[in-house]
């Protein structure tokens, strides 16, 4: 993955608009967060292979960026995106890697289902 090039990422987001696409969205502190830091409130969320269609997708802010997808009757949003790639299966993979290089957030868009 490369660090976000806003103009290029915006073009890629535009290219998936108004199509049925599979979404992967997750935020995570890692399963060990409250083991290493007692009292840490470990929260996160994860969806995968949910089909949506967005009419407008936008990359906002300086790095770490925010990505918002406007749906006909709702929204999808990810904060903290630093890296992206269009992989060999034409899937748009976006991720937020913390200063330690560990994944904190991922938002991925694909016209074909992600692996299980």
């Amino acid at each position: 993955m490369e660090t976000v090039d806003v103009k290029h990422l915006q073009e890629l987001l535009d290219s998936f608009a108004n199509k049925d696409v599979y979404i992967h969205l997750e935020t995570t502190n890692g399963s060990y967060a409250s083991h290493f830091q007692e009292g840490f409130f470990n929260a996160g969320a994860f969806i995968r292979n949910v089909v949506i269609r967005y009419e407008l997708g936008k990359v906002a802010g300086e790095s770490p960026h925010r990505i918002g997808l406007k749906l006909p009757s709702g929204w999808i949003y990810a904060q903290g995106i630093t890296h992206y790639t269009l992989d060999e299966h034409n899937r748009l993979l976006m991720a937020g890697l913390g200063p330690d290089g560990k994944l904190a957030v991922a938002l991925e868009i694909s016209e074909t289902p992600f692996a299980y």
Binding site: M1, S31, T85, R91, L97, L103, E108
Partner: protein, 223 residues
């Protein structure tokens, strides 16, 4: 001193669980000629560690970790690896009966005298605990006379308080090189801790060498 066993079945949810907690034990059993089967439930698909600098992404991580797992097993001399096809971070949400059946099938096929897995409440990661729960339930349903011994890994911060000192400690300095090789094989996961560990081993740091040479287990008491 490890006892000669008929067969050892190891069940953990993530590639690298076996290397952190039991690589010395596995390598030692294999050197003794004890057959070892390792059932790894997932490919660690949801890991946060993607290498440093990152060489994986969310979608390539499973294949990278699969290869790391194969390399780690090779380093330990383990040839009977089963990849069970579940997804990282979802074990506790699976149908419990499906998991019990998975464990039961493994036990019936391999007929182990020892099973090694995680403690059902003191293994920190929800996947670890859920794996331990399913293993214990599968073994609970067996007749007492046909029940292997269950060794459990536990490392919650409250473990000593709740369980006391480990019941069994395997001392395996003679296979430390294999354990190190297995840990190195899991590069996407261990690149954060290994360089520091290697320095401490080289400096004869007592805690670091203790971690490398000794593997502690609790034995489950079936009611």
């Amino acid at each position: 001193m490890l006892q000669k066993e008929r067969h050892v079945l190891i069940v953990f949810p993530h590639p690298d669980d076996e290397s952190f907690g039991t690589a010395g034990t596995i390598a030692q059993y294999i050197e003794m000629g004890v057959p070892v089967t390792y059932a790894c439930l997932t490919l660690g698909e949801m890991g946060r560690n993607l290498g440093n600098p990152p060489f994986a992404n969310r979608e390539t991580l499973p294949q990278i970790r699969k290869q790391e797992l194969l390399d780690a097993c090779n380093a330990m001399g383990l040839t009977d690896l089963r990849m069970m096809g579940l997804r990282d971070k979802t074990i506790e949400f699976e149908d419990p009966e499906k998991l019990v059946k998975l464990m039961t099938d493994l036990i019936e096929e391999t007929n182990p005298s020892v099973v090694i897995s995680f403690h059902p409440t003191l293994a920190v990661h929800p996947d670890h605990n859920a794996t331990g729960v399913a293993v214990i339930e599968a073994m609970n349903r067996r007749p007492e006379t046909d029940r292997p011994v269950l060794y459990m890994k536990a490392f919650d911060n409250d473990t000593l308080n709740q369980l006391g000192e480990p019941h069994v400690v395997h001392h395996t300095p003679n296979v430390a090189d294999k354990k190190i090789a297995a840990l190195r094989a899991h590069a996407s996961q261990t690149v954060w801790m290994l360089p520091d560990m290697e320095k401490r081993w080289a400096a004869d740091d007592k805690d670091a060498l203790d971690w490398l040479y000794n593997e502690a287990f609790y034995i489950h008491e079936f009611k």
